[in-house]
């Protein structure tokens, strides 16, 4: 769809013209990898040799997911700003399919998120994370992250359609940020969690994303240590369903907001 491409192009142009925006979005994940990751790596290395790199490999997928989350929040923010400044009116008055307005935002958000994910992976590898042997696995991992980002974008776009206050939007979204990360297997394995936490993590799509990425993109330390990763097909199904749900939420909220 030409219109979707045009809007994608416009968003990307503005993004590339504003390196501060990208830098700002990358700060949090990079801090996690570089400070927390290195700190943990050193702590664990003091115990068992090699377990430091294992931990960095272990936690990197979670940080990639976190950056996708941040990207999704940014995408919702762009939509909110465009709504408040009336730019959306220009789209609505143009002879373009209504859905391309939503898709233009979703695709540019996705592109930005993937771009950041790749940077985080590179930084992680530099710190000592071990990539898996199969490049197809790397693509698979990125695809999974993309779907996760799509799902969360749907959520944030839906919230951005329903409020007129940037403050309220960010407050709503922040509720998700760290809980999504902590109530998952991002920083610690499922197997050692207390039951209540395990249940919570199994409801969290982040867990499935992370597990899938671990298995496909990296030398999964959990598997190597004899632990049980989640079935890969299950990860794909859950994350796909999350993406569909998110987009559906965004679409309905979007249609209501342009009445």
């Amino acid at each position: 769809m030409v219109a979707t491409y045009t809007l994608w192009n416009k968003h990307m142009r503005k993004f590339l013209a504003n390196p501060e925006e990208m830098f700002g979005l990358l700060i949090q994940p990079i801090l996690w990898v570089v400070l927390f990751g290195v700190g943990m790596k050193s702590m664990l290395a003091a115990g068992t040799p090699g377990s430091g790199e294992n931990y960095v490999t272990f936690m990197l997928p979670g940080i990639v997911a976190l950056s996708a989350l941040g990207g999704a929040v940014g995408g919702g923010s762009v939509w909110l700003t465009e709504r408040l400044r009336g730019i959306v009116k220009e789209y609505l008055v143009a002879p373009i399919p209504r859905i391309s307005i939503l898709l233009g935002n979703a695709t540019s958000t996705l592109t930005k998120s993937l771009f950041q994910a790749i940077i985080i992976v590179i930084v992680g590898v530099l710190i000592g994370a071990k990539l898996g042997p199969n490049p197809l696995g790397w693509l698979g991992g990125l695809a999974l992250v993309a779907l996760f980002g799509l799902g969360f974008s749907g959520l944030s776009l839906s919230m951005a359609s329903q409020t007129d206050s940037p403050g309220a939007y960010h407050a709503m979204i922040m509720i998700f940020n760290l809980p999504m990360l902590f109530l998952s297997n991002a920083l610690y394995p499922l197997s050692t969690m207390p039951t209540w936490m395990k249940i919570g993590s199994l409801i969290n799509p982040t867990t499935y994303t992370i597990d899938g990425v671990r298995q496909m993109m990296f030398r999964d330390p959990v598997a190597l240590a004899g632990g049980d990763p989640l079935p890969l097909w299950l990860c794909w199904v859950v994350v796909l369903a999350f993406a569909v749900l998110g987009m559906w939420l965004a679409h309905s909220a979007f249609r209501k907001s342009i009445k």
């Binding site: 809007l7 465009e82 009336g86 730019i87 789209y91 008055v93 143009a94």
Partner: protein
């Protein structure tokens, strides 16, 4: 190309009603019939229903009831086709101001499916038309208010629309810029045969530009006609009186005077249409004295659409612009 049904109206509105949230009645049954190659001004205060009307005609809002057609196409059922043939400038400036002027125009053309060659040609032509050639490479956020409005106008014209909708096109602009924009609008009508529907609360704008004026208040069209015809109803001169006393009684007595054409009683001012203001001032003042009506302030002016508005609605049309027609001797607020 102008394809119209035999009924021939560029804009046709019947019984348009818009209710927000089941409570606020923004439009209460509006009828409009605007032929092609006309400049039509919807004149009214804020909240009268002007922006709602434009939103419906530009397919941004759906009416609660009634029909609206642009170029013979229903704005609800044939919204996509309508969108392809109209241009809009909005009241709030809706520019993506991180883009340069040129990019704003280019992205607009792309959204409307123009080829690269078409866009280049149009951008060159329109930047020259609105005199923004030098600023075109700068981000729109560096533009003044007047430059932004001119860019908005250029953007709306990128696709050579048959009908152009302008919502308060000179809102908040300085007098020189307003005149420039008026010149652009007149040229569009003359050189391109465009039909234009504009909303405004500035009576000088309506007087200067419009072929037809529709006075709208509280969601209803209360008067319609050419500016001249509407003003002529008011008499050759208008005497404005404010004061204390039996206003209704005074108005009745004054109406009976032979040289008085119309009398309207507003909230604070009584306006009297007469044949010659300066000659009749004395008689009006004496009439007031005879009626125990204490005159606080009195002035004479040529009638304006604002006076027409007062006559039909009993309220003043708030006028916030600067220097106006030189024959006004308006001594009161």
């Amino acid at each position: 190309m102008n394809e119209q049904k035999p009924t021939g109206q560029a804009i046709e509105v019947r019984g348009l009603v818009k209710r927000y949230n089941k409570e606020v009645l923004a439009l209460d049954g509006v009828d409009l019939s605007i032929p092609a190659n006309t400049i039509y001004a919807l004149l009214g205060p804020n909240g009268a229903g002007k922006t709602t009307s434009i939103s419906i005609l530009t397919t941004l809002l759906e009416p609660t009831s009634g029909t609206a057609k642009v170029l013979g196409l229903d704005v609800v059922k044939q919204a996509g086709e309508v969108r392809g043939r109209i241009g809009v400038t909005f009241q709030e400036m809706v520019l993506d101001d991180e883009l340069t002027g040129k990019q704003v125009l280019d992205y607009h053309g792309r959204l409307y499916g123009q080829s690269k060659a078409e866009r280049q040609a149009k951008i060159e032509e329109l930047l020259a038309l609105v005199e923004l050639e030098e600023a075109a490479g700068r981000q729109a956020k560096t533009y003044s208010g007047g430059m932004k409005r001119r860019l908005e106008l250029a953007r709306a014209l990128m696709t050579t629309p048959e009908v152009l909708f302008l919502d308060e096109p000179t809102l908040g602009l300085d007098p020189q810029t307003r005149v420039r924009i008026w010149d652009h609008i007149r040229a569009l009508k003359k050189d391109q045969g465009m039909t234009m529907l504009m909303t405004t609360h500035y009576m000088d704008e309506a007087e200067n530009l419009a072929d037809q004026v529709g006075i709208i208040d509280l969601g209803k069209l209360v008067a319609e006609g050419t500016p001249q015809a509407l003003i002529e109803q008011m008499g050759a001169d208008t005497i404005h009186v404010t004061g204390e006393g039996d206003r209704a009684g005074f108005a009745e007595r004054v109406k009976a005077l032979p040289f008085v054409q119309t009398v309207s009683v507003g909230r604070t001012v009584i306006q009297i249409g007469v044949d010659s203001g300066s000659r009749r001032l004395v008689e009006v003042i004496s009439e007031a004295a005879r009626n125990g009506f204490a005159v606080e302030d009195i002035s004479v002016s040529k009638p304006s659409l604002g006076d027409v508005f007062l006559k039909y609605t009993g309220r003043r049309l708030r006028d916030t612009d600067g220097p106006q027609a030189p024959n006004r001797m308006n001594l009161m607020v």
